[in-house]
């Protein structure tokens, strides 16, 4: 009977293609928008993602999100280091600064000062130059997209001299990072230099990055740091979640993407549900004939479920394939807003589950009509 189900399905090519394409389009819309939303949320915590050597972030109690730091005394680092359960702790500085090129072009940049000795939180991928070059005088590393923004029409290279906070800086490396929430170029340097570029006088830190000792959970150690120092301390995952929650609450990004994803869901449900329902209803007479002949409701249910699963799997594969192609094309780019965007495996799975559920739901609605159809219908002309 499965063969008969496939023959009925594939016979009406136009409706079959409409079903598959409808499901593919819904899959594309839902998975792509969900993945972009997820990537945007990830970009809002770019600093936390990239400083993955540390599993604890310590900050002033007033801090709500990673992009809005508050300054603390450098002495805070030692207070964190002395807390039981901390393996190591390093200072981290972050600020917005003005960068000026030799041609006079100015641009705001996110200035990130990493620990002078360990270079913890320095960029992981350096396309041109070397991370060790960051130890040279006036050395900065800028991300590729930022380089293209401050020196347009210039090939990626090192050696250019710029000014940050009216102080000389030499580009010694080009890094590759995903987009940040602010969209500003990301300039990494040593913290001692960063505070000079930002024209700070009190040698502050904005965060203390720490690592929990082996066998201790970051959450427990963070709680201990908060208790001992009176500061705010979170595990890496906890601070990421807190920052993303702030973005979701205050930025409106959730509403914007939520509406798009919801539209995808509604379009998906409408197209898939309606087309499949119409498909089943138009074949009602054929199903009635099968029922009259003596095919049981259970077997007809199996036939319709097979049709639904087949079209949903095929449509899903096409849609998720198109979405994957989209990210495969744009994600590896060094510049552009879509660089570094990716589709989380959970979105692959979640979209698949949703599409199959929608198709099966419309199948259930259609099946009700088919199962309750009067087989005596076949005696009517």
């Amino acid at each position: 009977m499965i063969r008969i189900a496939f023959k009925i399905l594939l016979h009406d090519t136009a409706k079959y293609l409409a079903l598959v394409m409808g499901i593919a389009f819904a899959t594309l819309l839902i998975s792509q928008q969900s993945a972009i939303f997820h990537s945007v949320m990830e970009s809002s915590t770019r600093d936390i993602i990239e400083a993955n050597e540390a599993d604890i972030w310590v900050m002033k109690p007033s801090v709500e999100t990673v992009d809005q730091p508050d300054q603390m005394s450098e002495l805070t680092v030692n207070r964190v280091r002395s807390t039981p359960g901390v393996e190591w702790a390093v200072p981290y500085y972050q600020a917005i600064a003005q960068l000026r090129t030799s041609s006079g072009r100015t641009k705001s940049v996110t200035l990130i000062g990493v620990d002078d000795s360990s270079l913890v939180a320095a960029p992981h991928t350096v396309l041109i130059g070397s991370l060790n070059d960051l130890r040279r005088p006036d050395a900065i590393i800028i991300d590729a997209a930022g380089f293209a923004a401050i020196l347009p029409d210039t090939p990626l290279r090192t050696g250019d001299i710029v000014e940050i906070g009216q102080r000389r800086a030499e580009i010694v490396g080009i890094s590759h990072t995903g987009p940040s929430w602010s969209g500003l170029p990301r300039v990494h340097t040593r913290r001692s230099l960063a505070v000079e570029y930002a024209r700070e006088t009190l040698n502050p830190v904005t965060y203390v990055l720490a690592r929990s000792a082996s066998g201790r959970s970051p959450e427990a150690v963070a709680n201990e740091i908060a208790t001992v120092t009176g500061l705010q301390a979170h595990s890496r995952a906890g601070f990421k979640a807190k920052s993303q929650e702030w973005v979701l609450t205050y930025s409106g990004v959730a509403e914007n993407f939520g509406i798009t994803i919801l539209m995808g869901v509604i379009i998906g449900v409408a197209i898939v549900g309606q087309t499949f329902y119409m498909f089943s209803v138009e074949n009602l007479r054929q199903f009635a004939a099968l029922k009259a002949i003596g095919v049981s409701n259970a077997r007809i249910l199996g036939m319709i479920s097979t049709q639904a699963l087949f079209v949903s799997c095929l449509g899903y594969c096409l849609g998720i394939g198109a979405a994957s192609l989209f990210f495969a094309l744009f994600s590896p780019q060094l510049t552009g807003g879509l660089r570094g965007m990716f589709m989380d495996p959970a979105i692959f799975i979640g979209t698949g589950v949703f599409i199959v559920c929608v198709t099966l739901l419309s199948c259930v609605i259609s099946v009700r009509r088919v199962l309750t159809v009067d087989p005596a219908l076949v005696f009517r002309s």
């Binding site: 009925i8 099968l290 029922k291 009259a292 003596g294 049981s296 076949v378 009517r380």
Partner: protein
């Protein structure tokens, strides 16, 4: 041998104007080994009666026995395999599955009974060959004429060798020549000592193919006569 025996079959339907009694105590028999035609004007209850005999319409009073089995006492879940094993259908509108070839359509009852596809197709092909459709077994219904489609429907109705064949206006959608050809084939292949065949029709030109003709009117069985007598009367 008694094939189908209906005694005092009555059924009524609820309508806006109140209950409508469609069958008013019908006593009807269709012996095995014979073709019985059920004739009468539109709305007299012919199709309702065969729907009850097939177990497709429930709620009738009286008794309906098909080869000794009282179908009115069978539950809905018992009726499904009963129909599959014992009844073959031929419909006015053929009701072939559009995506299936002639052979596949004819093989459906066998496949539904669990026969493997190759065996079912072989058996269906042989029957279609007898029906003169050897060259058309791979064609889809839309590639066949009305007469050819009805012959595929005959093959589908007989492929699993049912004990009861129910035909609802099998020639109504066909021209006179095709209708005669279909009735000839039905007569040749369907009439079997172990099988009862009931043909609902209001076409007097096909009465001659019947062994018995049962006349219905207004929910009642008026008379039963042999096919030749009915054909002669119909011709006049």
């Amino acid at each position: 041998m008694p094939g189908v025996v209906c005694e005092h079959v009555t059924i009524e339907f609820a309508t806006a104007a109140g209950p409508l009694r469609v069958l008013k105590g019908v006593d009807f028999q269709a012996p095995a080994g014979q073709m019985t035609m059920l004739v009468g004007p539109s709305g007299c209850g012919k199709t309702t009666l065969i729907s009850i005999i097939a177990g497709l319409l429930r709620g009738a009073t009286g008794s309906v026995s098909v080869f000794g089995r009282d179908v009115t006492s069978l539950s809905a879940s018992e009726l499904v395999p009963f129909r599959l094993a014992n009844i073959g259908f031929i419909f006015q509108q053929y009701n072939l599955l559009a995506g299936l070839s002639a052979a596949e359509n004819a093989a459906v009852p066998l496949v539904a009974s669990g026969t493997p596809w190759p065996t079912a197709l072989q058996k269906a092909g042989a029957l279609l060959d007898k029906l003169g459709l050897a060259k058309h077994i791979d064609k889809l219904p839309r590639q066949l004429s009305g007469g050819q489609q009805q012959r595929v429907a005959i093959a589908r109705a007989l492929v699993h060798e049912p004990r009861l064949l129910l035909c609802d206006e099998p020639t109504a959608a066909l021209d006179g020549k095709s209708g005669q050809a279909v009735m000839g084939l039905l007569r040749e292949l369907a009439v079997h000592p172990d099988r009862a065949a009931i043909v609902v029709t209001h076409d007097p030109r096909v009465y001659a193919y019947a062994d018995r003709v049962a006349h219905m009117e207004d929910g009642l069985l008026l008379k039963v006569e042999d096919g030749k007598t009915a054909a002669l009367a119909g011709a006049h």
